[in-house]
Amino acid sequence: MTSQSAMRAATNGAATANSEFLLQVEGVRKEFPGVVALDDVAFRLKPGTVHALMGENGAGKSTLMKIIAGIYRPDSGSFHLRGKDIQLTSPLDALENGIAMIHQELNLMPFMTVAENIWIRREPKTAIGFVDHAELHRKTASLFKKLNISIDPEIEVRDLSVANRQMVEIAKAVSYESDVLIMDEPTSALTEKEVTHLFEIIRGLKSQGKGIVYITHKMNELFEIADEVSVFRDGRYIGTHGAASVTRDDIIRMMVGREITQMFPKEVVPIGDVRLSVRNLSLKGIFHDVSFDLRSGEILGVAGLVGSGRSNVAETIFGVTPATSGEIWINGQKTVIDRPGTAMKHGMAFLTEDRKETGCFLILDVLENMQIAILNQGFAKAGFVAEAEIARNCNQMKEALRVKTPDMHERVENLSGGNQQKVLIGRWLLTHPKILILDEPTRGIDVGAKAEIHKLITRLAGDGVAVMMISSEMPEVLGMSDRIMVMHEGRVTGFLDRAEANQVKIMELAAH
C-alpha cells in the first residue's frame, strides 16, 4: 500500500504537487456502470479561501467532493493535502486527515443531544471509563462560543430547526479541526437571516486559514461569499477564476457551454375566469385565514421565508393535510377536498417541494413514475392497465420535456435532479390539469433545465392553466409571476402586481 502510493507520487504526483495549495487534486477519473462521472478533473484549493463549485446537476461536482471526502474511491487521480500524497479509503479516514463534508442530507442522530452528536466516538471519559458529561458540555460550549453559535448543548437534535442542525453539523466538522470543509448546498433550507449567520461563520473559518469548498446553485451567494470559483460541465473540469473577475453571465456560459438568452420567458397571456378560490383557509397551528383567487392563464407566485406556511397552504388545497376551516371553491363550486384523489378529480395537480421524499419512486423506473397519476383516469379496463396506450403517452411526454434517460425502464434514482423533476412534471401534465400547484419547481436543478421548466410553465399558462408557484428564489418569483402573494408566519401579508413588485417590497412583506 505505502510503496504503491509512493510510486504513484513519483510517477504523476510529485511533479505537480505544489505547497501553495491546501488541497490539490489532479487527473481524477471515476466511472459508474454506464456513465463516466468524472474525466481528468482537477481541483486546487488554497488555504484561507472559499472556493465555490458550480455546474449543472450531473456535472460531477458532488461526485468529486464525495471522492475527496472518502465516500467514493476514484478510478485514478492524485491527491495532495498540504503537498503530501494521500489516498483516502473511507469518510473516517478523510476526517482524520482533516477533510470534513457537511452533507445536503443532514447526518445527525435525532434522539441524542447536540453535545453527544458532536463528540460521538470521541467522548471525554472519566477515570473509570464512563462518559464525562461535564467535560462534554464544557467542550461543546466552548466550541459554540468560538463559532458564535447559540444552541443549548444539552438539547436533543430532533428539537432543533433545520438551520440549527446545519450549525451543529458545521460545529461537528470544525471540532475535528478539519482544514478542508466541504459544504454541499448548505443554504437550501435556511432563511435569509440564517444564511447571514452561516456566512459569518464561514468568514471566521476562512480567517483561520481553513479552505472551504462551497457547492451551490445560487449565483448571488457565490458573489457574496466565494473567493474563487471552479466550473464543471458533463464530468469535466472547465476552469477556475477569481470570483471578483467573472460575471454571472460568464459563469452561466461556462456551465452550459452556451448563452442563455432569456432567463425568464414570461409572456403576457389573457387572464380568464377564476378557477380556484380560497376563502379563510386555515390549518390549525400552521396557517390562518388564507384567501386568494387564481384565474385561468394566471401565474400566482407565492413568496415567503421558509416556515411561513407556503407549502402547507399548497398541501391543504391539494388535500394532503385537509383544512381545519375555510372554504375552497373550484370553478365557482364549493368543494371539500379531503385527499389528493379528490383534488385530482377537480383538475388539480401538485408538484411537491421535496423531490425525494414526496415525489419520486426512486427504485421504480421512469415509466412507472410517470404513469402513476393517470392510472385512475381511464387508462385501465376492469383494473387491467392499458399498457401500450400509457407507454405511448409517457414516451411522448418524455420527448416533449426532453428527459435525459437511456430508456423508459431506467430507475429514476439514476437520473439527475433536473431529469427527475421533469419526470414528475410529466406525471402531472399527463393528467391535463386545469390548476397546477408548483412548489419550488426548480430547486436544486441546473440552469439549462431550469430555463426549460420556466418556458414550460409559461406555455401552460398560455394554454389557460391556472398556476400557483411557490418559490424561494426571488428572481424566479419576480420573473415568472403575474401576481405575487407573500406570506409570513402562517398569514398572507400582501399581494403585489407584476408591475409594482420588486425584491425590496417582497422582503418587506415576508419579514413583516
Binding site: 456513465v35 427504485i363 383494473g383
Partner: protein, 341 residues
C-alpha cells in the same frame, strides 16, 4: 440525442443483457444448484438419485403448496413495505372453522350436529371468509390507526391462534367428508397453488392494483400525493393475504382430513422466507410472484434433500435459518451495489 449520450458511455452488450435477464434467473440458478448438490451427495452417501424419483418430486411440491399459497399473499404485503405475521395462526383458525362444516353425519360428536354432510362449497367458503375477515382487520388496523404492520399482525397472530383453540376447546375436528378430503388429494394442492400464483402474478404486473402496490412500497408519501388512496389499498392487500391464508387452511385440513388448532404454527415465517429468498425486498417496492414460487420450491427441496440424506431434523432447521439470513444479506448487498451505481 439523450439516448445517444447514454449508450455511448455504456458497454453495449451489458446493457442488453441486463434488459433480457429477468431477476428470477439468479434465484432459479440457485434452485438448480441446490438440487444438483443433493443429487451429487445422494450418489456419494445413499447410492441413489435425488432427482430421478418422480414420487419424491411430487411430494416436494405437494408439501410446499400450502406454504406457497400463503407466500403469494405475504409477498404482496411485503412489496407494500409491510409484513404479515398472522398467516400461520390464520391457517390454524380457518382450518378449524372449515373442517367444522365438513364433518359427516356418521360422526356422533360433530361440532355442529345439524350442519353435517354439507356440500363442499360451504366449508371452503367459510375458510376463505374467516381468513378474509382476519385480513380485513389487519389492514384496517394499519390503515386507520397507523400502527406498524408488525404490531397489528403480531396481535392477530396471537388472537387468531386463540380463536383456533377456543373454537372447539382444543379438540381436533375429524371425520371429514370425502368430497372435502378430495381437495387435499392427487395434485390438487399444487394446482391450487399454481393457479393462485398465476392470478396474482398477472394482478401485480398488469393491473392498477399491482402498480399501486409497488408504488406504495417504493414511497408511501409520493403514492399518497399521486392520488392513491393508500389506506384503502393496504386494506385490500392485507385482505387478500388473509384470504389466501384461509385457502391454505382449507387445503391443509383437507390434506390431513382433520382440523387441529395447532396447524400452521410458524408457517408465516416460512412464507416470509420463501418471499425473501425469491428476491422480495423487506424495504418494499420490489418483488415478484415468480421469485416467490421458486423460493418456495427451494425451501421444499432443502427439506426433502436433508430427509433424503437422513440428516437430523434439528440440523435442517439450523441450515434453513442460515439460508434465510444469507438471502437477505445478498439482497442488501445487491441494493447497496445498485445505489452506488
Amino acid at each position: 440525442m439523450a439516448t445517444e449520450h447514454a449508450t455511448k458511455a455504456a458497454p453495449h452488450g451489458e446493457m442488453q443483457r441486463r434488459r433480457k435477464m429477468p431477476p428470477e434467473a439468479n434465484i432459479f440458478v440457485v434452485l438448480i444448484g441446490i438440487a444438483l448438490f443433493f443429487e451429487l451427495l445422494g450418489w456419494i452417501f445413499v447410492k441413489q438419485s435425488f432427482l430421478m424419483n418422480t414420487q419424491r418430486l411430487q411430494v416436494i411440491i405437494l408439501q410446499v403448496s400450502v406454504i406457497g399459497i400463503i407466500a403469494v399473499g405475504v409477498t404482496q404485503v411485503i412489496i407494500t413495505g409491510g409484513i404479515d405475521l398472522s398467516s400461520g395462526s390464520v391457517v390454524g383458525m380457518t382450518a378449524m372453522m372449515a373442517a367444522s362444516l365438513a364433518q359427516t353425519s356418521d360422526f356422533a360428536r360433530a361440532v355442529y350436529p345439524s350442519l353435517t354432510d354439507l356440500p363442499v362449497i360451504f366449508p371452503v367458503a367459510a375458510g376463505l371468509l374467516a381468513g378474509l375477515i382476519a385480513g380485513l382487520i389487519n389492514g384496517s388496523l394499519i390503515a386507520f390507526t397507523g400502527i406498524p404492520p408488525f404490531i397489528a399482525t403480531l396481535g392477530m397472530m396471537v388472537a387468531a391462534r386463540g380463536v383456533a383453540k377456543w373454537y372447539t376447546r382444543g379438540q381436533p375436528v375429524s371425520m371429514l367428508s370425502d368430497s372435502y378430503a378430495a381437495i387435499g388429494t392427487w395434485i390438487w394442492p399444487v394446482v391450487i397453488f399454481l393457479v393462485v400464483a398465476l392470478i396474482f402474478h398477472i394482478a401485480l404486473r398488469y393491473t392498477r392494483y399491482g402498480k399501486f402496490t409497488y408504488a406504495i412500497g417504493a414511497n408511501v408519501q409520493a403514492a399518497r400525493v399521486s392520488g392513491i388512496n393508500v389506506g384503502r389499498h393496504l386494506i385490500k392487500v392485507y385482505a387478500i393475504a388473509g384470504c389466501l391464508s384461509g385457502l391454505a387452511g382449507v387445503v391443509l385440513s383437507a390434506r390431513a382430513i382433520s382440523g387441529q388448532a395447532g396447524m400452521g404454527v410458524s408457517y408465516e415465517l416460512d412464507a416470509i422466507a420463501a418471499s425473501v429468498i425469491g428476491g422480495t425486498s423487506l424495504a418494499g417496492g420490489v418483488g415478484r410472484i415468480t421469485g416467490t414460487v421458486i423460493g418456495t420450491i427451494i425451501l421444499g427441496v432443502m427439506t426433502s434433500g436433508f430427509t433424503f440424506l437422513r440428516i437430523d431434523a434439528y440440523y435442517q432447521e439450523i441450515v434453513k435459518g442460515v439460508i434465510i439470513v444469507a438471502a437477505v444479506i445478498i439482497d442488501q448487498h445487491r441494493q447497496r451495489k445498485r445505489r452506488k451505481a
